[in-house]
Symmetry: C2
Subunit: 415 residues, 2 copies
């Protein structure tokens, strides 16, 4: 039976433990919500001060060149590429995940249609996908006159029958935001290709959380988020990746001037630039964008393999401790037990999931809640310690054993 | 004949002069490029430190509620509304101008089509419009199967013949980015309506620069930029306005979760929220967004009427001084002389416009250059003084009289 001292010993032996010093983590808080908003790299404060005080305040307009603002989407994209099995010139950091998904999905549908596969009118996705992905697909489909259909599956097992000769694109989130289930990227991509479909992955809960090998696993397009496991800051710009073989004919509807071959020639006819900058649209929010680099620079000090090993150790420990110490309570593990299908979060359902989570937060154990009844706990090996896992479970045990929660607690507007 | 002392006296008598103290302006610089990137409000530094250090660093995920991050697009939109003749709940600050233009143009085309006016297949705009506006229209049109045509006029006088019974939308930038020409918003909107078209305005060079009365002047949709005259910071999120009478049937393709009626219910079917938040899409870059408020708070201390009066005095003075003191040089005023058609910038063409501007910048007089041959000088009455106008012209006179520029200077990648 594991003890608190065992956890302390594991932290002491942890080769990644010093990375935690590079984050600002408030006292009295065990932060298990890095899957929603990553913690702040200490360097982000000085970086944003530099952008605002010096680059904006002192150099003003000259910073577009001098401070490299115009190149930031590409420069950060190249740094991010190494975390998701991509090459330089395949990723840009820009816009929001929703906007990028719109571009990638449109490009994929266009490619199928232009290559004469207009009978492929189906977009396969999951009903349990993060809602904005489904909304974006619904929005795009309803604007295209070709009559695209969104086919929503209810479990991963249905992919095999759902993907057929009518399928244009398979659009999945690699790690599910609620359950924490992870798809086998290679297996699903291979299936999609075997049926003639293109494969679009949303890496919102994967980038920086689990090893991703977009090129090796045969993905076609991907988008993702930088403000969760990548610690880019609240609402920091998202990313979009396009496989090299699709870049030449990559075409997306948001053809703003940043994707023009000569943006400052000010020509009245759109002409797409080459490469991944085709996925850009308009001017980017530089202060928020620049801070993304601070998170990426911490990842550069370790490897996704080392992070994955610790992530699984943390989530294994959490599952073990909750199941052993809370066994009399109606908690149900929602996240897959098999490592191959687990992201870097653990979700437990409880009939009073919302008030229990509110009680945890009030005690400084910050996870979050997702309908229905699901308490989510994110584990970010860059800064989460084994002792945090122990102490979080300790608080949970006390709350459940002594009913220290209000079953009638009302939901916040935003949780 | 005006003297330098006269300019000093005008600054002394200027009731707006104290507002300059609220900006960080580097020593040795006369900044006449606020029409490209506004100067930094001093408050922006402490505001972004608060967002990054406290709201992100200390309160973490709780700041979505506690610090009001989720409401920022609406709260800032309400503040901005007063500057453009709009009401609360008509504006949100979000995404980029290009992305917002895509939404507004799509919504306008959809409205015409849904109301049975499918013969209206023309988007009227100007060849001299800011290129991204035209690119976005081209991009959107090429994705819709209805076969929309972009009709580009070459001068404002052609509007009367270009807008006809085939016109779905008239899409114009109110103040031209290059020439500084301002359309008569009421006259053009009235013409568009008389011919059955909808009127979409881009206020990138108008918001905070000239009085705008969207509702009184009969506009239907508008977008604009916060990083120019509104001083929101580099690439700060843009805005979108939808007239109250168009909000109920406002429909745009980028239907992300922030425009859902219940974003946190996580339902798999998109259902649009009411009001202007229908124009939202995904998660916003909070650090960049929050700083927009610092610029708006300075505008709240004065009025657009007072700012316009000083703006015209500054641009009149600049035109007078350049024309009287540089009369032997081949400078040609590109900006309209009539106040009714002048924004808050002055553009002069010169055969060596690019190297002359580089020489000005090297001497600390920062304007910018736009093809072909055009030197742009932006005047922002919040912080530009009459003495700045005098001193800038003094430097220009010296550069031209003594040929202190390199006619072979090469253009930067970004200017």
């Amino acid at each position: 039976m594991m003890t608190r001292d065992d956890c302390l010993a594991r932290d002491k032996a942890d080769k990644l433990s010093s990375l935690r010093d590079q984050f600002d983590l408030p006292d009295g808080v065990i932060y298990l919500d890095g899957n929603s908003l990553g913690a702040r790299p200490k360097a982000a404060l000085s970086r944003v001060q530099q952008v605002v005080n010096d680059e904006w305040g002192k150099d003003l307009i000259r910073s577009w060149n001098k401070a490299g603002w115009f190149d930031l989407p590409s420069r950060l994209g190249d740094k991010l590429a190494t975390l998701i099995g991509a090459n330089p010139n395949e990723v840009v950091v820009t816009d929001s995940t929703s906007v990028n998904l719109f571009k990638a999905l449109a490009a994929a549908l266009h490619k199928q249609s232009r290559e004469g596969r207009s009978q492929r009118h189906v977009i396969v996705t999951e009903r349990a996908n993060f809602p904005t992905d489904v909304y974006i697909a619904q929005g795009l489909a309803s604007w295209l006159d070709r009559g695209y259909e969104i086919r929503m599956i209810d479990s991963p097992e249905q992919l095999n029958t759902a993907i057929d000769e009518e399928t244009a694109v398979v659009m999945l989130t690699h790690v599910n935001y609620r359950a924490g289930h992870m798809h086998d990227m290679r297996e699903v991509s291979t299936l999609a290709h075997a049926r003639g479909a293109l494969m679009l992955w949303d890496l919102a809960h994967s980038a920086g959380a689990v090893p991703v090998n977009l090129n090796a696993d045969g993905a076609d397009y991907a988008v993702g988020c930088t403000y969760k496991y990548l610690n880019g800051g609240p609402g920091s710009p998202a990313f979009i990746w396009v496989a090299a073989q699709h870049q030449e004919d990559f075409r997306q509807p948001l053809s703003g001037w940043w994707s023009h071959a000569s943006p400052f020639a000010m020509q009245p006819q759109f002409e797409a630039t080459g490469g991944i900058r085709r996925a850009l649209c308009g001017t980017q929010p530089i202060a928020s964008l620049a801070m993304v680099e601070c998170g990426l620079d911490i990842f550069a000090q370790t490897s996704m393999a080392a992070l994955r090993e610790k992530s699984l150790a943390l989530t294994d420990l959490f599952i073990d401790l909750v199941e052993s110490r809370c066994s009399v309570h109606p908690l149900k593990l929602v996240t897959p037990r098999e490592h191959a299908h687990r992201g870097s979060q653990v979700s437990f359902a409880h009939p009073h999931g919302y008030p229990v989570m509110q009680a945890l937060i009030a005690r400084g154990v910050i996870g979050d809640y997702r309908e229905p009844h699901i308490m989510r706990f994110g584990f970010t090996p860059l800064y989460t310690r084994f002792i945090d896992v122990w102490d979080a479970v300790d608080v949970l045990v006390d709350i459940l054993d002594n009913k220290r929660y209000d079953p009638a607690a009302l939901r916040d507007a935003v949780t």
